[in-house]
């Protein structure tokens, strides 16, 4: 599988403040990778270095296996939407995209109308960009990314300002592009539930460094539903559970708390089993961590 993006010891400092720690990262063709981090964690800085807007302080960026000026040329195979979409305010959507069609040397004139149709802006013929809502601006930004049939999309907060229907449309579009055209997607958003539905890989960023890089499967395992039981005698409880349910899957957490991952639908029987055998249960609850809670657990913070 082709390597789309590869960074080696990529670093950025602003006036002696290191905003991106030496970063080693690889994105392969077909992945949908979510970059997750708080405001100021360095997400946009990474995207800007990839797009060429920012010159890295040190390190190397490889795009489709190429470095230096050749990597710059490889950006032609990518579509970038970094921070707010920027267009000419007095131009319509068609005029703006026509400008970029000429700039990228795309021969097919109809491509402008095609991408506007894909993002749901085909009917906005006379409206100028300055009159657009935030959601419409985002759609036009995505249309620009799609203009030249890219192999990879790098999208920084692409669903900002979109309504619920718009978010769903963009999500479905990205999934479709990934599945049907094998377009690689590197995306960030603060709407973690959306990323959870979309991404196949999750990279968590804290203070300019990657703190975790996991696949969707691993993340699901780590954040799956569990029965949390706190009691006075966890050893006895564990023995009783192993006898009653030979296939039981559990972990012993700090303070002797048991986290049980299967037989959750039999929680009433488990509670009865422990009580009838003299184990004093002080806490008994079913919990499941979503991506937001998992993220906050990683970077430190309270769920909203």
């Amino acid at each position: 599988m082709e390597t789309v993006i590869q960074t080696h010891q990529l670093m950025k400092t602003f006036k002696d403040v290191q905003v991106i720690e030496p970063l080693d990262f690889t994105l392969r063709q077909g992945e949908i990778c979510a970059l997750i981090g708080r405001n100021g964690a360095g997400k946009s800085t990474i995207f800007k270095m990839l797009s060429g807007q920012l010159i890295p302080t040190s390190g190397e960026i490889r795009l489709f296996g190429k470095t230096g000026n050749a990597a710059g040329e490889m950006r032609g195979r990518m579509g970038f939407l970094v921070e707010t979409p920027a267009f000419f305010p007095n131009f319509t959507a068609v005029q703006n995209l026509e400008y970029y069609r000429l700039q990228r040397g795309i021969v097919e004139k109809k491509r402008v109308r095609e991408v506007l149709g894909i993002v749901g802006l085909a009917h906005e013929k006379r409206k100028k960009f300055r009159e657009y809502s935030m959601g419409m601006k985002q759609r036009l930004g995505i249309a620009l990314c799609l203009l030249s049939h890219p192999d990879c999309l790098v999208l920084d907060e692409p669903i900002n300002g979109l309504d619920v229907e718009g978010i769903r449309e963009i999500r479905n579009l990205l999934v479709r592009l990934n599945e049907e055209q094998q377009i690689t997607i590197f995306i960030s958003s603060h709407i973690l539930a959306e990323l959870h539905m979309l991404a196949t890989r999750f990279v968590f960023l804290k203070d300019g460094a990657i703190v975790e890089d996991v696949s969707k499967e691993t993340l699901q395992t780590k954040s799956r539903k569990q029965l949390v039981v706190a009691m006075d005698d966890s050893a006895t409880a564990a023995r009783l559970l192993e006898q009653a349910y030979p296939d039981i899957d559990y972990r012993v957490l700090p303070d002797g708390v048991l986290a049980i991952h299967n037989h959750i639908d039999q929680s009433g029987d488990i509670n009865r089993l422990l009580l009838t055998n003299g184990v004093s249960v002080t806490e008994f609850r079913v919990e499941a961590r979503n991506l937001e809670e998992y993220f906050l657990g990683l970077v430190g913070g309270e769920p909203a």
Partner: protein
């Protein structure tokens, strides 16, 4: 580079403000000729109804020329520079962006300049009192002024690409093209080396050119070209170097 220039040309041709600026410039040229011709006809003692005086307004109007150059250059380097991030992320080289914008705005400026000068000569020679050498003198003086004006164009372009604020751009222009000779003359009182620099300062040369034109003694002045070429080269080197490392967002 051709694709980038095509896209910028697409934008340039749709800039209403640029076309308006061009029309206003040409209208001012015509209005000045009309006013001088009117006073010449109504007042026989009016001393300024001559083609030479009419032409001297361009040669002596350094500040006005700088403003026009600024407006033309800003048509592709103005407030719309935040869209540059799109071009950079498409893999277009920064040097391509710098040169394409420069060549297009310069080309448009030169076309309007040629039209404007042709209009001036046509109006001056038909509506105002002329003498035999006024056109030749005017063109010679323009030839001396051109390299210095072009260097101002390059300076403005580089500063705009470096996102220098408009006020600072004007301050730099006024210092270099308006007061550099004056400042160097003060310096020459303490250090002799400034004396040579003073001779090559843009405002010294523009002033001399204007006086020579009015005295009908104007000739090709190599010093104007030396100064123009040095300033142009400096502006371009600084602009290309700084823009290649600049953060674009």
């Amino acid at each position: 580079m051709m694709n980038y220039m095509k896209s910028e040309q697409y934008r340039l041709l749709r800039k209403k403000s640029l076309h308006l600026t061009s029309l206003v410039c040409l209208a001012l040229i015509a209005a000045a000729a009309a006013v001088l011709a009117y006073f010449q006809r109504t007042d026989p003692t009016f001393p300024y109804g001559t083609a030479s005086f009419y032409y001297s307004n361009l040669l002596g109007g350094t500040v006005l020329v700088l403003i026009v150059i600024f407006l033309f250059n800003s048509s592709l380097t103005g407030r719309d520079t935040d869209v540059l991030k799109n071009a950079v992320s498409f893999g277009i080289r920064r040097s391509t962006i710098y040169w394409s914008k420069l060549l297009l705005t310069l080309g448009y400026f030169l076309i309007i300049s040629v039209v404007g000068v042709a209009l001036m000569i046509a109006l001056g020679e038909t509506m105002l009192a002329t003498d035999s050498g006024s056109v030749r003198n005017f063109l010679t003086a323009l030839g001396n002024m051109a390299p210095i004006a072009l260097s101002a164009f390059f300076f403005i372009h580089s500063m705009k690409m470096m996102k220098v604020g408009d006020v600072y751009v004007f301050i730099v222009l006024l210092v270099v093209y308006g007061f550099s000779g004056y400042l160097l003359r003060i310096g020459a009182q303490k250090l002799d080396a400034f004396r040579t620099l003073y001779d090559y300062a843009p405002d010294t040369l523009l002033g001399q050119n204007m006086m020579a034109f009015m005295g009908q003694t104007v000739q090709f002045n190599a010093a104007c070209w030396v100064t123009g070429v040095i300033l142009s080269a400096a502006a371009i080197v600084i602009g290309v170097t700084k823009f290649s490392k600049q953060t674009i967002d």
